[in-house]
Structures are given as structure tokens and as C-alpha cells.
């Protein structure tokens, strides 16, 4: 029962996990607004990953609720008022953990995949 559940949701969980990692990475260096985050993911992934409004904002709100990022309405000179997100201290720890987890995961997958091909 339990393992079937794990298999069934693994794919979605994987996407969700990686999406969090992407967002957290993007707001690590500087605060960014939602549209900018969506654009950057699309651009840097060469169009392979796309986040539209229905998936992007719920994700941002979830991360904010967990206290990993924090949004703030800011009006910059000559620009419209936008909500900028930046990484919190807690978010920074989570990001580090997720990065290493991802690294381990990829390494593990590579090992397994490499062994199979050898």
C-alpha cells in the first residue's frame, strides 16, 4: 500500500521538489518579482521548463507560507508597483539542503544508470 502510494506520487513530488529548488535558487542572489522568476526559468532552461500563472503563484505562496521566501510590494523609480520575493535565512538552509540532496540524487542516478550501461 505504502510503496504503491510512493510510486504513484513520486513523479509529481519530484517536479514539485525541483520547482522549489529552481525558485529558491533564483531569488538567492537578489529579490525578484513573479513575472521575472517565470521568465528566467523559461530562458535559462532554453524553454524546456515553463511556469505559467496557475503554477507559479501558488508555488510562491507556498514557499512564502513556509517562511523560506518573503514577498514585499515595492515601487521602484519609473516602474509599476510589483511584489518582490527574496530568500529568508530559513530558505537559505533549505536551499543548501535541497541542492546537496539534488546533487546526491543525480549522482546516484548516474551511478545506477552508468552501471547498467557498462
Amino acid at each position: 500500500m505504502r510503496s504503491r502510494h510512493v510510486y504513484g506520487t513520486a513523479d509529481r513530488e519530484l517536479k514539485k521538489g525541483s520547482a522549489e529548488l529552481l525558485v529558491l535558487s533564483l531569488v538567492e542572489a537578489r529579490a525578484r518579482h513573479g513575472y521575472e522568476i517565470g521568465k528566467l526559468i523559461e530562458a535559462r532552461s532554453g524553454g524546456a521548463l515553463r511556469f505559467n500563472i496557475p503554477s507559479l503563484y501558488p508555488l510562491l505562496y507556498r514557499l512564502e507560507r513556509r517562511g523560506w521566501i518573503r514577498g514585499q510590494w515595492i515601487e521602484k523609480a519609473g516602474q509599476r508597483r510589483r511584489r518582490y520575493y527574496r530568500l529568508t535565512a530559513g530558505g537559505r538552509k533549505v536551499l543548501a539542503a535541497q541542492r546537496s540532496g539534488w546533487k546526491n540524487f543525480v549522482a546516484a542516478i548516474n551511478r545506477v544508470a552508468g552501471l547498467e550501461h557498462a
Binding site: 510503496s3 513520486a10 513530488e13 513575472y35 500563472i53 517562511g67 510590494w73 510589483r82 538552509k93 539542503a97
Partner: protein
């Protein structure tokens, strides 16, 4: 048109969020942000499909956490509705986690049940005041300055009464067993007392009906009146108030009932059913101060007089009497004891030990529950974090979590009380004789209050620590990490580890205590008592002194009785003796050897002396080592003989043959100077084994000797001892007693036979207290062990679940199952090792607590310590291997994907 489209999606989204209960400000914020995004993207509106997906996704994020009570904006509610809300929520939470709730409730029921049961005993025996101002009641007797207790001489008591300055009330009493006859009911034997009026004054208990004894009842020649116990009054007289003034027959004398004492009156013992005044028998007391006619004193201290002052006053009085009557009272002092102390001193150390032990069980239980609750709280920390983020203040969250643990504690406490009730009922029904006030033990309001207090305390203790951790904002971030499944927060892991260490340490200490008790008990059981209890039945007979004043008649009666009992079919051997093994007390004197000089006016050894008929040794199974037993020819007209025990031989005749040597312990004349007294010499004809006379464990330095019952020691010639009849038989004690009663009645109907018991039962009674300690402490130790196992299993199991991903990575990176098992068990092993080390140190430190309760076993017995430490370690490691093995079955891919 664009405006209308724009307005359309905004209105739809806003309505959707409003239905979810999202606050207006928040709704506006979300709409504004989405609108800005659209604008940046150069669009004007969300298309319907997008809007629907956004609404669905937001529903998952913005919705309140399902089992959260609404906390936002409700902080100013009054307290009561909040508590009600918390309770309802707590019930729901408990039902949502049935396994957790069941474990918590079961643990608490066991721990609180054990505590309530022990408390009810401690309360009845030690805490509850029994008589008003019980700490001011003292008991009195005379004693030699060498420390031998004696009853009070009648003239001496009168001096005390007239000359003491310390007592508000002073009474004197003598235990008396009487037979109640008359009416249409069969005769029955009653435990009672001859008591002066001061006895009632000192206890401070008012009669239920009629009156207590007054001064007039103490006057010599006063009429025979009697006071009945409430129990006897209800049982035999149907609680008839008209019993006052009625005449009853007690041991052939008519008494007029003048009062009924309530059940609270239990002096001299709880078995007392009838009290008779001292006046009518006062003229029979010897006028000599050297005669001690079985009287003992009880007194109530005058207000403002301390125990020490009273003791000093009585000591001065004793010294004055000593000067006035040197011929009888040289070296005679007063012994005064606090009554309360006398009742509980025997059982107190055991009760303290048990109280400590159940306290340990409770602490272990609490550690377990704290651990469980901590793990559960961490699993729920997201919700707590959300609530904190939504503005619920910390106090409110703590309160909520506390309500949950208190609810479980209350249920557990209630069940525990039920368990305690059953346990105590069974315990009281088993009728242990070593526990004073056994009939008062039960579950009453005080015990219930105690259990309630414990439940609240444990609820707070096991609920508060995790609650504060959960509500602590500093730790939120680390908990979020743990929620990601990376690894549990360091602080939480430390706390859990510390709890396991504490648990193991406490369990070890408790088990060491139980182990020591078991070892001590085994030693006790291995003691050679010197007699063979199998198939031995004993009983007491008291011949009326007036009728048997003539020694020849006294001897003839006993000889004939023994002859007839021995002739009963099924009786292998029968005899009488002035004392019984293990009975304690007894007649003691100094013994000297013929032909050796008396040094410093002192005897060579203190000795216990008894007077036995020839058949006694065979009946009791006391082995003959040399010489012979007594024979029927060892009579008054024959040469005085004596049988001694091996300890006397070792002490007085090391390396010599004692048979044929002459010794003496009977002296006449010479005042207190042994050198000038005339000894009666007796020839040693036999040597028997040493018999434990003062209890199995006690071994005072008395050597032992026996005279033939036909050659009573001079000390017994005037004041005959009550004899014990002993028979070795294949009959049941009841059948034998009936047969013997018939024989006795045929010889003399005035001689009562009582105190029938088998020697095996008597032996069991003598070892009852240590046996109880072993059983109870063993049970508590087992309980502690089980709780500790559950605790270790739980912690390891939880940590394995938490670290599934880490373990998966390790295994993906090449770790074998063996490596993983070694890692998990190794980490548990560190905690277990630390707990065992601390527990051993604690046991060593607390050794002195058990000192007085152990027999021939050191409280720091290395063998017990080692055995228990090994046992606990093995069991604990096994408990951690089970969940650890589960960790080794983790599928690396699955473990990683759950991330």
C-alpha cells in the same frame, strides 16, 4: 471589452478565495499580483482554463490547515470557550491517531495505576493520621539498662501515674484472650485487653455507645464491666443499642456491657474486640516491683511537652524509683516509644523503596510519552508553523497541545485508578500480615486526588516539552528542514537521545533494586532455620494459673496431654515447648560453666532458655548432634539435665566434649551479684542444632539451651509460661486441631486451645515482607523494562523513518545492509551505553537506600549490577535491531524519490 474581461476573472477569483475563507486584504493582494503579471506579459485577462487551474492550486495553498482550530483574530476570546474548543479539538486529534493515543493511555494507565496502588498503601499505613494527635501518643514499658524490655510492675505503674509531669493521660493494659460464651450462639475466642481508663483517654477515641472506662473502673475490686468493639457489637449483637446493661460471660466471669467503641478504636491491636477494666483483677497483681505481670503503658503527652522532655522526665522518675527500691529496680529504666513510629517502623523502608520505584516507573513512562509526543509534534510541525505564521500566539499553540496531552492523561489516569482498585482489592484479599492497617487500605478520595494530581502533572510534563519546542520560533526553520525529510533537527534529536539515556538509566536502577531483592530473598530462603517445618502443626494452650498452681498438677496435665496427642492416629511425634522457633522474645539469662571462675560478676554468655518435653525435638525436627534427647525419666526427682545447642558448644566448649559437663543459668540469692548467688547446675546430656528463634534474618548473640519440661527452670516455677503444643503429622491442621481440642476438653474443659497454625505457614509469614518486596519490586522492574524497550524501539524506529532518504543515499552510494544496520544500531548503542553507565553509577550512589532491606547481599553487589547491566543492554540492543533491520530494506530509488 478588455476591461470587462479583466473585471470578470478578478471577480471570479475573489469570490472563489472568499469561499475558502481568505481575508479580503490577502485576496486583493493576490489579484493585484496576478494582474501585474498579466500586464508585464502584455495580456489583459486570464483565460477561463488558466483561471480554473489557478483557483484549484490556490485552494490547496490558501486553505486553512484541516485540523486547525480557527486562531486568527480570535485571541481576545474569553478563556472558557477557548478551553472548550481545545478540548473538542483534542478529542478529534486523539481519534485521528488511535495508535498513538492507545500507547499513551496504556502507558499512563500502568504508571499511574502502579503509583495510585502504592500510594493507597503508603497513605493508609503511614500518612493518614489515625488517632487524633497521633504523634503525641507514646507507649511505655520497663527495660533493663542492658536493653531487655520488660512489662511494667503494678506498683511502678502507680508511681508513674502519681509522679509523672509529662502525660495528659496515662493508661496501662494487658492483652487478654477470652472466650465469650452464653446465649444461643457458640462460644468464641475473642482478642481483647484488660485496660485502665487512661488507655481510652490516651487514644482520644470517644465511645459509639455508652461510656469508656472511668477512674472508678481502675479501683481494686471494681465491678466487672466490659466494652465491646463495634465489629463484635454488629456481628454478635445485631447492632442492638439495648446491649448496654446486658450481662455477658467472658471466660466464665459475668461482665456488664457499658459501652461500644467505634471501629476507629484499635488499641492495643486492630483485632481487639473486647475491653475489660483493670480494677477487678488489680488485686491479683504481685505487689513486688520485681514481678512484671504483662502490663504495658500508653500515654498522651501533655500539650506543650515534647517527646524529648517527656523521655527525660520519665528517666528521672525511673532513677528516683531505682534509688527508693534498689533491691528490685537496680538497673531498671523506662522505655518510651512513639506509637506511630512503632507501628510503621517495620514496613517504612520497604514502602519508601516501593514509592521510589513507582516514581521511577512514572518517570520512565513520562520519558516515553515525551518522546512519542515529540515525534508526533514534529510530524505536525507544518501545521503548527502555519498557525504561527497566521498569527496564533505561542501561548495559544502551547495551550492547544497541552489540552491534547491532558486529555490523554486524564483517560490514562482514570484507567490507572481502575487498575489500582483491582490490584489493591486482590492485595488486601491476600491478607498479608506484615502490613499494618491492612483493613484500611483502599481507594478513597485521597487516592483519587493523588491519581488526578499525577495525571495532570504527567500530562503537563509529557505535553509541555514538545509543545514548547513546537511553538518555539527559533526552531521553526530547523523543523522545516526535518519536514523535508533531510534529517531531524539537532536539538530535537539530542532531546530524544537524552530521554532514552534517562529511561535506560532509571530502568537499570530499578532492575538492580529488584535484582538485589531477589538475591537477598534467595539467601534468606537458603538459611538453615534448624527445624523441619514440613508437616508440623503448632498451637497454644493456656492453663488457668489458679487451678494449676501446684507444679505436679501442671506437669501431669501436660504429660498426659502430650501422651494423648501422640496417640492420635496420623501423629508421628508430639511435644510441648515454652517457645516456638522464629517467635522472638523469650526467656533469656546468663550462663556459666561449672569449675570456671566468674570474671567481673558476669556470665560467660547470654542464653535463651526453653523448656521442652522429650518429644518436642522429634516433632519439630531439630537434629541431635551428640548425646541424647530428653526422656520420660528426666523428671523433677532425677538429676537436673540440659540440652544445649551447637552455638553454646562453640562459645563455651571450643574443642572440648560438652557431654557430661555442668552449666548453670539459674541463680538464687546474692542480689544482683552473680558471684554470690547460688547456681543450679545441670548436666549437659545432648547437643542439638542451632534454631533461628528471633526470625530468619535476625541473629542476636544468644546461645540456646533447653531444660526438660519436667524440670522447669526456677524462673518458671512461680510464673509458668504458656506452652506450645507441637505435632508432626500427616493430618491437616484443622483435623488435628479438632482432635486435640477433644482431648484437651476431656482433660480440662477450662483450657483453651488457640493459635493453630502449620509451621510452613508460619515460616511463610516470617518471610512475607521480603517476599512482598521481591514480588512488587520485580513487577515494577518488569514494567520499567517493558517501558524502556518501547521507548528505545520508538526512538530508533522514528529516527529510521526520518532518515529514510539519507539511508537510501548511503545505500545508493554503496553502503551494504550490514553497514546500515551497524550504523543505526551503533547510534542506539551509544545511547544505551550511556544510560547503562549512568544507571550503574546511580545504583552505586543509591546503594545505602537498600542497605537495611537486604540480607547477606551488598547493595553494591557487583554480580547483580553486571547481570542487570548485561540483561538491559542485550534487551535494548535487540529492541533497536528490529527497526534498524527495516532501515536496511529501504529501496534507494524509492527513498530518494519520496523527496
Amino acid at each position: 471589452m478588455p476591461d470587462r474581461a479583466s473585471a470578470g476573472w478578478r471577480a471570479d477569483l475573489d469570490a472563489h478565495l472568499a469561499r475558502l475563507g481568505v481575508a479580503p486584504v490577502r485576496r486583493a493582494g493576490i489579484a493585484a499580483e496576478v494582474a501585474q503579471h498579466l500586464e508585464d506579459a502584455g495580456r489583459t485577462a486570464l483565460d477561463p482554463g488558466e483561471a480554473a487551474r489557478l483557483a484549484r492550486a490556490l485552494a490547496r495553498v490558501e486553505r486553512r490547515v484541516p485540523f486547525d482550530p480557527p486562531v486568527l483574530g480570535q485571541e481576545r476570546q474569553t478563556l472558557m470557550p477557548t478551553i472548550w474548543q481545545d478540548l473538542r479539538y483534542a478529542v478529534r486529534a486523539a481519534r485521528l491517531a488511535p495508535a498513538y493515543s492507545a500507547v499513551v493511555i496504556a502507558t499512563l494507565a500502568l504508571a499511574i495505576g502502579a503509583n495510585a496502588a502504592i500510594f493507597s498503601v503508603v497513605d493508609a499505613v503511614m500518612l493518614r493520621p489515625y488517632y487524633p494527635g497521633m504523634d503525641r501518643i507514646v507507649t511505655l514499658s520497663e527495660a533493663t539498662r542492658q536493653g531487655d524490655q520488660m512489662s511494667i510492675a503494678w506498683p511502678t505503674f502507680q508511681d508513674w501515674q502519681a509522679r509523672n509531669r509529662s502525660f495528659e493521660q496515662l493508661g496501662v493494659y494487658r492483652n487478654a484472650t477470652v472466650s465469650l460464651t452464653g446465649g444461643d450462639q457458640p462460644a468464641e475466642r475473642l482478642v481483647g485487653a484488660v485496660a485502665s481508663s487512661g488507655v481510652f483517654g490516651a487514644t482520644g477515641i470517644q465511645p459509639l455507645l455508652g461510656r469508656a472506662f472511668a477512674d472508678a473502673d481502675d479501683a481494686p475490686g471494681a465491678p466487672r464491666v466490659a466494652i465491646l468493639s463495634e465489629r463484635l457489637w454488629r456481628r454478635r449483637f445485631d447492632a442492638d443499642p439495648g446491649v448496654l446493661g446486658r450481662s455477658i460471660v467472658l471466660s466464665n466471669d459475668a461482665y456488664v456491657v457499658v459501652g461500644v467503641m467505634p471501629a476507629r478504636m484499635r488499641f492495643p491491636s486492630r483485632l481487639a474486640d473486647v475491653w475489660m477494666p483493670i480494677g477487678p483483677i488489680a488485686p491479683t497483681f504481685p505487689a513486688s516491683r520485681g514481678a512484671h505481670p504483662g502490663l504495658y503503658g500508653v500515654a498522651r503527652l501533655r500539650p506543650g511537652v515534647t517527646y524529648a522532655q517527656a523521655a527525660a522526665d520519665m528517666d528521672m522518675l525511673a532513677r528516683a524509683i531505682e534509688q527508693e527500691h534498689p533491691e528490685s529496680n537496680t538497673d531498671v529504666a523506662v522505655r518510651m516509644t512513639q506509637y506511630y513510629d512503632a507501628i510503621v517502623s517495620g514496613i517504612r523502608p520497604t514502602l519508601y523503596l516501593l514509592l521510589g520505584a513507582v516514581g521511577f516507573v512514572l518517570l520512565i513512562g513520562c520519558a516515553n510519552l515525551a518522546n512519542l509526543t515529540l515525534a508526533r509534534t514534529e510530524r505536525r510541525q507544518r501545521d503548527v508553523a502555519v498557525r504561527a505564521a497566521l498569527g496564533a500566539d505561542r501561548r495559544r499553540i502551547v495551550q492547544q497541545l497541552l489540552a491534547e496531552s491532558l486529555l490523554l492523561a486524564a483517560i490514562g489516569g482514570g484507567l490507572g485508578l481502575l487498575l489500582a482498585t483491582w490490584t489493591i482489592r486482590a492485595f488486601v484479599a491476600s491478607g498479608p500480615v506484615v502490613v499494618p492497617r491492612i483493613d484500611l487500605i483502599g481507594i478513597d478520595a485521597r487516592v483519587i486526588a493523588f491519581a488526578a494530581l499525577l495525571s495532570i502533572l504527567t500530562g503537563v510534563v509529557f505535553g509541555l516539552v514538545p509543545a514548547f519546542r513546537a511553538a518555539s520560533p527559533d526552531l521553526l526553520s530547523s523543523m522545516k528542514q526535518s519536514a523535508r525529510g533531510a534529517s531531524s533537527g539537532v536539538a530535537a534529536r539530542r532531546l530524544r537521545g537524552a530521554l532514552v539515556v534517562a529511561e535506560v538509566a532509571l530502568a537499570l536502577m530499578l532492575l538492580v533494586g529488584a535484582g538485589l531483592m531477589i538475591r537477598s530473598f534467595a539467601r534468606l530462603m537458603a538459611v538453615d532455620t534448624g527445624f523441619d517445618p514440613e508437616g508440623v502443626v503448632t498451637m497454644r494452650l493456656t492453663v488457668p494459673p489458679s487451678k494449676y498452681q501446684d507444679l505436679a498438677r501442671w506437669t501431669a496435665f501436660h504429660d498426659e496431654l502430650v501422651r494423648r496427642v501422640a496417640a492420635i492416629p496420623g501423629v508421628a511425634a508430639a511435644g510441648i515447648n515454652s517457645a516456638l522457633p522464629l517467635e522472638g522474645g523469650g526467656s533469656e539469662a546468663g550462663v556459666i560453666v561449672e569449675g570456671r571462675p566468674i570474671v567481673a560478676n558476669k556470665a560467660e554468655a547470654p542464653t535463651l532458655f526453653q523448656s521442652a518435653s522429650p518429644g518436642y525435638f522429634r516433632a519439630m525436627g531439630i537434629r541431635l548432634l551428640r548425646g541424647r534427647y530428653f526422656t520420660d525419666t528426666d523428671t523433677r526427682s532425677a538429676a537436673p539435665v540440659v540440652i544445649v545447642d551447637e552455638s553454646l558448644v562453640t562459645r563455651l566448649f571450643p574443642g572440648e566434649d560438652p557431654i557430661g559437663r555442668r552449666i548453670s543459668f539459674e541463680f538464687q540469692g546474692g542480689g544482683h551479684g552473680l558471684a554470690n548467688a547460688t547456681p543450679t547446675w545441670r548436666e549437659i546430656v545432648g547437643v542439638v542444632v542451632h534454631v533461628r528463634h528471633y526470625g530468619i534474618a535476625a541473629e542476636p548473640p544468644y546461645v540456646q539451651l533447653y531444660t526438660p519440661a519436667g524440670q522447669l527452670p526456677i524462673y518458671y516455677e512461680q510464673r509458668r509460661p504458656g506452652m506450645a503444643l507441637v505435632a508432626r503429622t500427616s493430618l491437616s491442621s484443622d483435623a488435628l486441631a479438632a482432635a486435640i481440642r477433644r482431648e484437651v476438653a476431656r482433660l480440662d474443659a477450662d483450657v483453651p486451645v488457640y493459635g493453630v497454625q502449620t509451621m510452613t505457614a508460619y515460616l511463610a509469614q516470617n518471610t512475607e515482607q521480603p517476599r512482598l518486596s521481591v514480588v512488587l519490586l520485580g513487577a515494577l522492574g518488569a514494567l520499567a523494562l517493558v517501558l524502556a524497550i518501547i521507548g528505545i524501539y520508538g526512538v530508533v524506529s522514528y529516527s529510521v523513518t526520518q532518515r529514510t532518504q539519507e539511508i537510501g543515499v548511503r545505500m545508493a552510494l554503496g553502503a551494504t545492509r550490514r553497514d546500515v544496520l551497524r550504523m543505526v544500531v551503533g547510534q542506539a548503542g551509544v545511547l544505551i551505553g550511556a544510560g547503562v553507565a549512568i544507571g550503574v553509577a546511580g545504583s552505586l550512589a543509591m546503594g545505602s537506600v537498600m542497605q537495611g532491606l537486604l540480607f547477606q547481599v551488598s547493595p553494591r553487589d557487583p554480580m547483580t549490577m553486571t547481570a542487570i547491566a548485561v540483561l538491559l543492554t542485550v534487551v535494548a540492543v535487540v529492541a533497536s535491531i528490529v527497526p534498524a533491520r527495516r532501515a536496511t530494506r529501504v529501496d534507494p530509488l524509492v527513498a530518494l524519490r519520496t523527496e
